[in-house]
Structures are given as structure tokens and as C-alpha cells.
């Protein structure tokens, strides 16, 4: 049965069930008697089992089956949920997850039997029934069906009269007769298709004269794992064996040349025996599957595409807007065909405006379709913190808010690792040990939090703890020690600047700083990961009180609102989200601080950035009397970009510069303007 078309659904749904299981088991740990949760767990395990079975993932099915058994006992009050059981169940989930990952990567569940876990699961049940733990794996455990003929050579088999005749004829025609015995791998889904491929491969060299089991039986998948045949060929044995071996999911090929038929009287009746159980054990759906269905995705590539589940309402909205688009197009067509003489008529402009409205809302709808709640990523964190709490032997609790905050699918996919890293950092280095917490009068259970919310065009995710905080003095000392700054420079630095040292690649490598400050492991990786998504990260910390990392991410990646500016004759786009205001500044108001140009604007001192200088453009011959300054902000820092001209606001589609042009941090991408010209997008974060 070809199930590949269901693979995606299977992966999606299994992940969902796994998440449910994980959530519920967490709940169970806190409230072992919660009947509703137990029922839900049971249902999820049951669905998982059913789905794995349907897809033919035997090992996964087996594991979930035994897991379900345990829940069954819990449900009928025969076992009490205890922490050992919770641990075991989490182990199960990990194992199932591993299966699922295998399926994702190769459409195959892999070969790990997880017998240990299965055994432990059964022990639980056995204990409940008052028995001693079962000595061996349960009877239905996949008794690793190794082909019995592990011996080196090829086992000949008995031929009937007509076959013997065919062999003799072939031999007379000058062919060699080779016997081959092929074992398909245990977890092969479509054995018949594999056999077919083997036959096809070897038949390039000659003709198969004898099949064991018969070709019909092989086609119907009525064989266990091994099938054999005689082939008549003029080619060498090695070549044919290699051809057979090349077929994927073939474990072993045993082959030998068959000499004159003297010894053929000593056949092993074994083949016949093997055939019998195989016939009954063959999958019911195994009615000669089309060989083409056996396409195996190229290794290395994930077997499934990435998908987004879309609310039908969102699709409806999309559909409505597309219909409106068509109406708008039709009106334009009719305008152009009727009064072609006066194309500037009012109706034309109205239609353009209408069209603009539609495309904007169409854009919004499409973006919404791509948006998924960050829940998908963060909901594995409570479990992670629980595990960490165990391994680190610290009491801690994770509180999360805003799990329903939505982000672009691409961002959500990639934000998991950085967040996980930050949380681990908080748990491992941030939180103090119990004694120190008691000394400082903090609650015994450490608090780790993850808050997500939307702010303008950004999504903010705050991750932090009420732990020790970062010892900025120690960081400063370290920076001086490593020669990154001079002591004088360090004195002048703000706390924020000092904390930013932690994000430097070399800094995080230093083991010592980890000990002193309790921070800095791989923070550079976190930073670069987030920056790749067009976001940034900031730290606020107070020694002894805790640390908060604020991750700022753009809502979407593909299309942004931007301000187009001109510097000489070059056009640049600045994301509107990062612009706070635009000012005309008379040149004489420019002041100097540490030989750098700044402006003093409404109480804040803002450094000036001459875009023509940073962009390597020829300076102007003479300075105008006043400058147009675009004030950009990132968090608390600001900068004033000096431009020549403002062109206006525009919705731009972000295109990547590709992989060739490198080392350019200033330019985050390019966009194509209405007239076909290319404009570059400035990444103002780099300028601050």
C-alpha cells in the first residue's frame, strides 16, 4: 500500500499528539489523579498507535502500544502515577520523537527498537498486576527477524523437472548459472517492489530462470525477508551481485555460481518452510503494489515539504480579495476600451486607488496565512525546564505568556534554538543555588519567564530569570584583560555596552567568564541566529536580581513598509519600523562629542551618521545650510542618518543579495522599484 501521500499528515498529526502527550504528562506530574488528563493521554497515545500502525511503522506502533497499556492501567486505577513513571513516559516520548524525526528525514522510522523502554513499560504493568518484572521482552516484541541462513554461501534449492530443463538449456546456450539469495531489510515497506527492482536490475545481465518463492508469490509479497532465484547470464557474478546490491533497502545478497547439477539432490527444505509463515504474515493490503510506488526520496533531503495549516476563514478572505482584484482589473479593462482618449479620467484614478486598497489587504491576508503562533515552538519549553530542573538539581518554574503571538512561519521555525539557548542559560547560569537564594531572601523556586507580545511591526520575546544577574564589573575586567578595550575606555562605557561584550564570539569561548559571571555560553550564536531573522537582542541585568533578554523580531520577512531616501543619485530603503522621526537640522546646530558629530534634539543626544561616508559616496562639494536627518531607533539607542532627499514611503518586497556578495553588513537586501530599478535596503541596526 502506498502511504507516502499521507506522510505529511501523519507527521503533522503525530507531532500534535506528541505535544499533547507531553503537556498532559507534565500536568499529570503535578496532579497525578486528574482523570480528565489521564483520559486525554490515553486518547492521544491510542491515536498515535493507530496512525503509526496504518503507516506501517511497526516499531513506533509497538512502543505506543505498550505506552497505551500503561495508561490503560492508570485509567483503571491499577497503577498510581509516580515520578519514575513520568520519567519513563518522557523517555518514551523522546523515543517516539526520534522515530518521527527519522520519518521526516527519510520516510522511514529507522531501526531503533527501544526494547529497553518497552521492557520497562511492561515491568510497570507487571508490577501493577503483582507479578515480578518480566524477565524478557514481551512476546510480541519484534523478535528481530534475522534471516536464518547467515552462513556464507548460497543455499541451493530443489528444482522441479521443468526448471531443471530450463537450467540445462541455458547452460547449453553458453550461459553461467548463478544462484542468488536476496534479503530485503527488515523495515522495508514495499518488499514486493524491492524484489521487482532487484529482478529488473539483474535482468539487465541475463534471464532469471527459477524463482523461489515463485514470481507470483514474490509479486504478492508472499515472502518473508529473503527470496532467491537462478539467473542465466554470460556476465560475471560480481557484476550481477553488485547490481542487486545497489537496489535500496536490500540488506544482503548471497550469490554463487551453480555448478553442474550433481549436488542438487541435497536441497534444504528450509525455503519451503519459510514460505509458509510468510504467506500468512503478509500484510493484507499487499496485493501486488505498483512498483513505481516504491520511489524512495533522495537521502539527505527531508521527505516532506514544510507546510502551514491554514484556517479556512483566512483562505476565504483571500479568495474574496482575489475576486475583488479581478473586478478591479475588469473595470480597468473597460475604462481603457471605452474612453481610450482620456485615460486620465477620474474613473481611472478611482480604479487605481481601489486596486491599491485590494493589493494592500491581499498582502495582509497572505501574510496572515503565513503567520503561525509561537506556541508551536515554545510549548516544548516547560518540558525542557522540567528536565533541566532535574539534571541541575535546582528548583525552577517557567511561566509563559503570549504563546498565541503570531509570527511568520520562517521566523517561528528558526527562533526555537536561540530561545532554547537563552532559557538554558537562565536555568543553568542565571538561577542561583538554593542556599544563595535563601540568603538573598528570594523564593526557593527560581522563576524563569518567557513573555511574548506584539509591538508595532515587531514581536518582542522576553526571556529572563530572577537569578544572579550579570556581574558587569567582572565582564569589564575580562574585556580589559583580553585587550578588547583599554581600562580608560572601559571606564567610559555604559553598563549596556559592557554587557554587549558577552555577545562577542571570542568572549563566549572563554570558560572563565562563564564561571565569574555565569553567562556567555554561546550567546554569540544566539545573537547571530536572531540577526539572521532580521531581529536583534538586548540584555537588561541587575546584579543579584536577575537578567532579561529582549528579543525583537520583525513580524514578516518578505514585504515591509519602507522610507525611500536618496543619497546623491543612489536610492536606499530604510524600514519604516525603525524610523522614529525626520528632522531638518541646520548645520550650525551640529555639536561635537569625542570628535564625533551629534545633534541635541528634545533632550537627547543623537549621534549623526553621514550616509555618504559610510556608503563610500563622494562627499558633496559644499555643505548645504541644513541637513535632512532621518532619526532611527533600536530599543533605546538612536542615530541620525543624513540623507540628501526623501522620496516617500513605499511598500517594498525584500530580495536577498544572494550568496556571492559577502561581508556587507550594512545592506540587508535589495528591492525592485516600480520603474525596474534596484534599490538597496539599509540595515540601520548596524549603524547604531
Amino acid at each position: 500500500m502506498d502511504v507516502s501521500q499521507y506522510l505529511e499528515i501523519f507527521i503533522d498529526e503525530s507531532s500534535e499528539h506528541l505535544q499533547t502527550l507531553s503537556d498532559c504528562i507534565m500536568t499529570l506530574e503535578k496532579e497525578p489523579d486528574n482523570k480528565d488528563t489521564i483520559n486525554e493521554v490515553f486518547r492521544a497515545a491510542h491515536s498515535l498507535k493507530g496512525m503509526a500502525g496504518t503507516m506501517g511503522f511497526k516499531r513506533m506502533q509497538h512502543l505506543t502500544h505498550d505506552m497505551e497499556n500503561v495508561f490503560q492501567e492508570v485509567r483503571s486505577d491499577k497503577i498510581q502515577v509516580d515520578s519514575a513513571m513520568i520519567d519513563l513516559l518522557f523517555e518514551c516520548l523522546n523515543a517516539i520523537e526520534a522515530y518521527l524525526d527519522n520519518v521526516k528525514a527519510s520516510s522511514d522510522e529507522g531501526t531503533e527498537d527501544n526494547e529497553l523502554i518497552i521492557k520497562e513499560l511492561n515491568d510497570f504493568i507487571a508490577k501493577a498486576k503483582g507479578e515480578a518484572p518480566a524477565e524478557e521482552a514481551p512476546k510480541e516484541a519484534p523478535a528481530a527477524e534475522q534471516p536464518k541462513d547467515d552462513s556464507e554461501g548460497f543455499q541451493k534449492f530443489e528444482l522441479d523437472d521443468s526448471e531443471r530443463k530450463a537450467v540445462a538449456e541455458a547452460r547449453e546456450a553458453g550461459n553461467h548459472i548463478y544462484g542468488m539469495s536476496v534479503s530485503v531489510s527488515k523495515d522495508c515497506l514495499l518488499k514486493a517492489a524491492r524484489a521487482f527492482l532487484v529482478f529488473r536490475a539483474v535482468e539487465e545481465f541475463g534471464q532469471i530462470i527459477v524463482y523461489r518463492p515463485s514470481s507470483q508469490d514474490v509479486e504478492d509479497e508472499k515472502f518473508d525477508l529473503t527470496f532467491s532465484f537462478y539467473i542465466a547470464s554470460t556476465e560475471s557474478l560480481d557484476k550481477i551481485t553488485a547490481a542487486a546490491q545497489n537496489v535500496s533497502e536490500i540488506d544482503r545478497v548471497v550469490s554463487a555460481e551453480i555448478e553442474e547439477e550433481k549436488k542438487e539432490e541435497a536441497p534444504e527444505a528450509k525455503e519451503e518452510k519459510k514460505e509458509a509463515p510468510a504467506a500468512s504474515g503478509a500484510p493484507a493490503g499487499g496485493s501486488a503494489p505498483a512498483p513505481t510506488a516504491a520511489k524512495k526520496p533522495a537521502a539527505g533531503k527531508p521527505a516532506t515539504n514544510r507546510t502551514v495549516r491554514v484556517d479556512i476563514e483566512k483562505l476565504d478572505a483571500l479568495m474574496n480579495q482575489v475576486s475583488e482584484l479581478i473586478i478591479a482589473k475588469n473595470s480597468l479593462v473597460s475604462i481603457s476600451s471605452t474612453d481610450s482618449g482620456s485615460i486620465n479620467s477620474q474613473g481611472f484614478h478611482e480604479q487605481i486607488e481601489y486596486l491599491e486598497r485590494i493589493t494592500t489587504s491581499l498582502h495582509e491576508s497572505v501574510m496572515k496565512v503565513r503567520m503561525v503562533p509561537i506556541e508551536n515552538v515554545v510549548n516544548k519549553f516547560p518540558r525542557m525546564i522540567r528536565d533541566l530542573s532535574r539534571t541541575l538539581n535546582k528548583k525552577m518554574e517557567l511561566t509563559m505568556t503570549g504563546e498565541d503571538t503570531e509570527l511568520d512561519r520562517t521566523v517561528v521555525d528558526q527562533i526555537g534554538d536561540p530561545l532554547q539557548h537563552l532559557l538554558r542559560n537562565s536555568a543553568d547560569h542565571g538561577l542561583e543555588n538554593a542556599e544563595l537564594r535563601a540568603q538573598r531572601g528570594k523564593p526557593e523556586v527560581g522563576n524563569i519567564f518567557l513573555n511574548a507580545y506584539q509591538e508595532g511591526n515587531n514581536v518582542i520575546i522576553q526571556v529572563g530569570d530572577d537569578g544572579n544577574g550579570i556581574d558587569t564589573e567582572a565582564v569589564k575586567q575580562k574585556a580589559i584583560e583580553r585587550g578588547i578595550v583599554t581600562p580608560e575606555q572601559a571606564e567610559a562605557m555604559s553598563q549596556k555596552e559592557i554587557v554587549n561584550f558577552l555577545f562577542m564570539p571570542s568572549f563566549s569561548m572563554a570558560k572563565k567568564i562563564t564561571d565569574i559571571s555565569g553567562r556567555g555560553v554561546g550567546l554569540d550564536v544566539v545573537k547571530s541566529g536572531i540577526e539572521q531573522l532580521g531581529g536583534d537582542v538586548e540584555v537588561k541585568t541587575k546584579l543579584g536580581e536577575g537578567t532579561t533578554f529582549t528579543v525583537r523580531l520583525p513580524l514578516t520577512l518578505a514585504i515591509i513598509q519602507a522610507l525611500m531616501v536618496e543619497v546623491r543619485d543612489e536610492k536606499y530603503a530604510i524600514a519604516l519600523g525603525s524610523i522614529s522621526n525626520i528632522e531638518d537640522i541646520p548645520v550650525k546646530e551640529i555639536k561635537y562629542v569625542q570628535a564625533k558629530e551629534v545633534i541635541h534634539l528634545r533632550g537627547s543626544v543623537i549621534p549623526l551618521v553621514r550616509l555618504d561616508q559610510v556608503l563610500d559616496i563622494e562627499p558633496k562639494d559644499e555643505e548645504p545650510e541644513s541637513l535632512t536627518v532621518v532619526i532611527v531607533k533600536r530599543g533605546d539607542s538612536q542615530a541620525g542618518l543624513v540623507v540628501d532627499n526623501l522620496m516617500g514611503q513605499q511598500e517594498i518586497v525584500i530580495k536577498s543579495l544572494g550568496k556571492y556578495i559577502t561581508g556587507n553588513k550594512l545592506i540587508s537586501g535589495a528591492t525592485i522599484l516600480g520603474d525596474g530599478e534596484v534599490a538597496l535596503i539599509l540595515d540601520v541596526n548596524v549603524l547604531m
Binding site: D616, Y660, I661, T662, G663, K665, I667, A679
Partner: protein
């Protein structure tokens, strides 16, 4: 399998687009060529490698454009009516435009018309992997990978 046999029976031939750069003729394996476009406005990218002239809009896609002249250490390009941008499609790395002075013709060269003995010499010769002989004219055959490679030989 049959295809293989056919190929071995025929001599291995490859088609090359012959372009003029400076006083020399160069050949580009046609397998890498996606397109040839007229010179158009190239948007400069600040801080990019010197041999990148910038980016162009190729039917809605942004394509970086490289000056082989600068990469090979020759003098800067002078754009004329004959200047063209050859768009190379390289697997995994996407499209790349290369500026040439002129596109001359397409030739078919078999392996025995190509002198492979020149690749080992130092300097800018690194960019070619052979000299093709087409009648009287000699065509330096570009090693595409050396051109797209990050190493700055200019």
C-alpha cells in the same frame, strides 16, 4: 546505459560561448549559461568585493554582476553598445552576471581541440582550464568555479 555508449562512440564535444574581453577571446561552457542580457543600469553595492559591480534586476530577480576584468586584474570595464552581461546559473549558489566586452559566437569544441596543458601556470591563468583551437583563433576556456570562487586574485 545506452546513452553512455552513444556518447563514447561520438567524440566528447562541448559548446562554448565565445566572448571578447580586452584583446583576448574567452570561452564559457554553455552549460553554465542561463541567459545573455544587454548592459543595463547596475546598482552599486557599497562595501562589496571590488570585482562586484553591483546588482541588476533580471525579470524581478536581483542578480549580482561581477567584472571578470577586475577579478583577473585587468583594467576596468568600458561599457559600449556591444557590452553584455552573461548570466551564469550555478547550482546551489544561484545566478551570477559576468560582464563581457562582446559576445562573438558559439563554437563546438571536441576534447582533442582543447589544450589542457595550460591550467597549471600561475597568475590569472588560474581562471582558465584550457585553450580551445577553433580554426586559427585561440579561445581561453574559463574555469567557472575559479571565477565564482571567493579568492581574490585581482
Amino acid at each position: 546505459m545506452d546513452d553512455n555508449k552513444l556518447e563514447t562512440m561520438d567524440k566528447v564535444t562541448k559548446q562554448y560561448i565565445v566572448v571578447q574581453i580586452g584583446s583576448e577571446k574567452y570561452g564559457i561552457d554553455i552549460g553554465y549559461v542561463d541567459n545573455i542580457v544587454r548592459m543595463q543600469k547596475i546598482t552599486r553595492v557599497p562595501k562589496a568585493q571590488v570585482y562586484f559591480k553591483g546588482i541588476i534586476n533580471l525579470r524581478g530577480e536581483v542578480v549580482p554582476v561581477m567584472s571578470v576584468r577586475i577579478k583577473m586584474g585587468l583594467e576596468d570595464d568600458v561599457f559600449t553598445g556591444a557590452s553584455r552581461i552573461i548570466i551564469l546559473k550555478i547550482e546551489d549558489r544561484g545566478a551570477l552576471g559576468v560582464i563581457v566586452d562582446e559576445v562573438c559566437e558559439v563554437v563546438t569544441l571536441s576534447e582533442d581541440e582543447i589544450d589542457r596543458a595550460v591550467g597549471s601556470t600561475k597568475g590569472k591563468d588560474n581562471f582558465i582550464n584550457g585553450i580551445g583551437k577553433n580554426g586559427d583563433t585561440l579561445i581561453s576556456l574559463f574555469e567557472i568555479n575559479a571565477i565564482i570562487d571567493e579568492k581574490d586574485n585581482g
